[in-house]
Amino acid sequence: MLYFRYGRLWNSFLNALGAEVVESGETTRSILTSGVSKAENESCLPVKVFYGHVLALKDKVDALFVPRLVSVKKNTHTCPKMLGLPDMAKSAVGEKVDIIAPTIDFHFGLWTNYRAVYSTGRRFTRNPAKIISSGIEAWKEHGSYLEKLTMGVDHKQALEGGSEQRLCEGRELRVGVIGHHYNVYDTFTTMSLLERLGAMGVDVMTADMVPETLRELELKKLPQEIYWSYEQEIAGAILACGRYKLVDGIIFMISFPCGPDSIIRVLCEQEIRSMDTVPMMTLVMDEHTGEGGFLTRIEAFVDMLRRKKDRAEADNRVVVAV
């Protein structure tokens, strides 16, 4: 579920420890179907996809690595579903496969996290120096991966280190595609939205590419602070995009039925409406979303943005693009 954010970190850590890492790869139709049949009906789409990946891996591996992220920043939480992921994985695979689930919680400072990482490492090697060095190595890799995302490199290239094609190349139109990593970067569930937008001649700006200082600035203005770490990023990015006109339009990607997003959506829609700077479209995805309807809406949205921009230029108004 969090592979698009931490995949590089986990991979290089486990590899450096001498473990053989088997990935479930891209989401496919069969993965989604098996996930949907196994998961609870009420779970959100990413959890269903997660179940699918777990089931796809369960016969190939000795142990599954499913970290439990309680908090990735002080005074924030992740979504409850992420807290329960290892236990849900356990209920999906039964006793057959071991689950490695280090608990990462930044409420209690670095020491508990260090211990969690260390105890994970001890499963593979008895050499403490090796654990620490691979941890540091992995953290560096992770940093460079995140930096690439910030620079606007497509996540696939950032993961594999191939040709560095940017999502943002200075084309005439720029659209912010903002949402959870798994809602934006997963090519199957989003029906390769990013590529399609690129093919339409549209620049894409993800939440990672919005400068962190602007996001923080926007969050400080809210009357009640948001206490989910990933939602902070999303809401901050959307509000910053709206306030500083970083983009021509925003597409807010939500998966059905995401709990925190349903709340954030109210907040963002109201704020964006009151700013009245850029249009925003909310796309809700689930396993039944049809490709046709999805595409039509995106095309219509892009067309609308284009027309709006043309008209603004025709009116000789100066459009400030930052």
């Binding site: 998961a39 609870e40 009906n41 009420e42 779970s43 439990r68 309680v70 005074n75 939480h77 992740t78 979504c79 409850p80 579903k81 807290l83 329960g84 290892p86 236990d87 849900m88 356990k90 209920s91 608990t103 009357p223 009640q224 948001i226 206490y227 989910w228 059905f256 039925p257 995401c258 709990g259 925190p260 349903s262 709340i263 959506r265 109210v266 907040l267 109201q270 809700v284």
Partner: protein, 370 residues
């Protein structure tokens, strides 16, 4: 300033008596109805959780009835509940209502904020009188909880269907009217006598536990009177949460009869970390109910509730391991009463059969996952 708040079981009595004691004006929200739900679902976000919609409906009806100050609890934690106040304020403002929202922030680091919010609510009343009012209101709530528990335990014995429920209603009224500790003690005696005096029959009960998200467990209108229905079907009912237990910060639950740490301990083989809300305790209490010899567990959850969704995906494993049937009821604005009633009947029948099979030591068919 006319204060109002959303319904949640006997919370009505608690808050009303606080404001009565302080001599402040308040407008109780009109009782929960289909309209409440309709209003909440119309204005609420599409897949926000069910309690958000219902309490939103309460607010709208309260504003229509003349309230201008709304109380909601705010906080933090992985569950959405902490962000209700802010979201509902935005929705109501968008819908064009005029009001003031006072989010009571219960968080250790935010005590000064809570003080400011309380000062706004209590207006000219003094802090000591506020403390006194809260204290007696909590004593009342504690009494109500114990009376409710007594009703849950004895409802299956009713000779005339509904007698316990109407006795309980009378008790509510008595508790609400009383205005001092002396009278409260007398009301306590009278209330229990009233409940005990309900005509009874001889009947062998089955024992059913109710677990789940606290709002749904506590609010009888929206859980479709699950407790009552189970009682009439011949079940001795116990639930995992009562209002004063829920309000207690220590984690001790004297009415339900256990401590949070016990249920966390019990849940450990299945769920090792708190997931916000009641998720962990739902799993833990299922195990505890099994240990106390209950025949089945009914799990109530609002649609899209995040912690309970996790509990729900883990409960089948618990159920299979321990051999205790678990019925998960997912409730939202579309849930029909007849459907729930049918499922409860089937569930109680199943529990009866299992008990009989146990007694005669008949071989049990392998337990299917619910």
């Amino acid at each position: 300033m006319k204060i109002s708040w959303p319904h949640m079981g006997s919370l009505e009595v608690v808050l009303a008596s606080v404001f009565e004691e302080l001599g402040l004006e308040y407008v109780p929200a009109p009782p929960n109805s289909e309209r409440t739900l309709e209003l909440g679902a119309r204005y609420g976000p599409e897949f926000a959780c069910f309690p958000l919609k219902t309490t939103l409906g309460n607010f709208i009806e309260a504003i229509e009835a003349g309230a201008d100050t709304l109380i909601m609890v705010a906080g933090r934690g992985p569950c959405r509940f902490g962000y209700y106040a802010e979201t509902q304020r935005r929705i109501l403002e968008d819908a064009g209502y005029e009001f003031e929202m006072v989010p009571l922030t219960f968080h250790l680091g935010k005590m000064p904020l809570l003080m400011r919010q309380l000062r706004r609510l209590k207006q000219s009343a003094s802090w000591t009188s506020l403390a006194r009012a809260v204290k007696i209101a909590l004593s009342k709530a504690y009494l109500i909880d114990r009376l409710e528990q007594q009703a849950l335990h004895q409802r299956y014995l009713d000779r005339d269907k509904g007698a316990t429920t109407s006795a309980l209603k009378e008790c509510y009224e008595m508790v609400f009217q009383c205005d001092g500790y002396d009278r409260l003690r007398r009301v306590e005696r009278e209330g229990f006598e009233l409940l005990h005096s309900v005509p009874k029959t001889e009947r062998q009960p089955i024992k059913i536990g109710i677990i789940g998200e606290f709002y749904l467990v506590l609010e009888p209108f929206f859980n479709l009177q699950v407790e009552e229905q189970l009682g009439y079907l011949g079940a001795y009912v116990e639930r995992n949460i009562y209002l004063t237990d829920w309000l207690r910060p220590s984690g001790n639950k004297p009415i339900a009869g256990h401590h949070d740490s016990e249920s966390e301990e019990a849940a450990r083989p299945y769920l090792t970390h708190a997931v916000g809300g009641e998720g962990l305790h739902s799993v833990g209490n299922t195990v505890l109910f099994h240990r106390h010899g209950f025949d089945g567990v009914v799990h109530l959850m609002p649609f899209t509730c995040m912690p309970e969704t996790i509990a729900k995906s883990i409960l089948p494993m618990v159920s299979q391991d321990l051999g205790i049937p678990v019925l998960s009821l997912v409730i939202d604005e579309m849930t029909g009463k007849a459907g729930v009633a049918t499922r409860l009947e089937a569930f109680v029948d199943l529990a009866h059969f299992r008990r009989r099979a146990h007694r005669q030591e008949l071989p049990l068919a392998p337990q299917p996952a619910f």
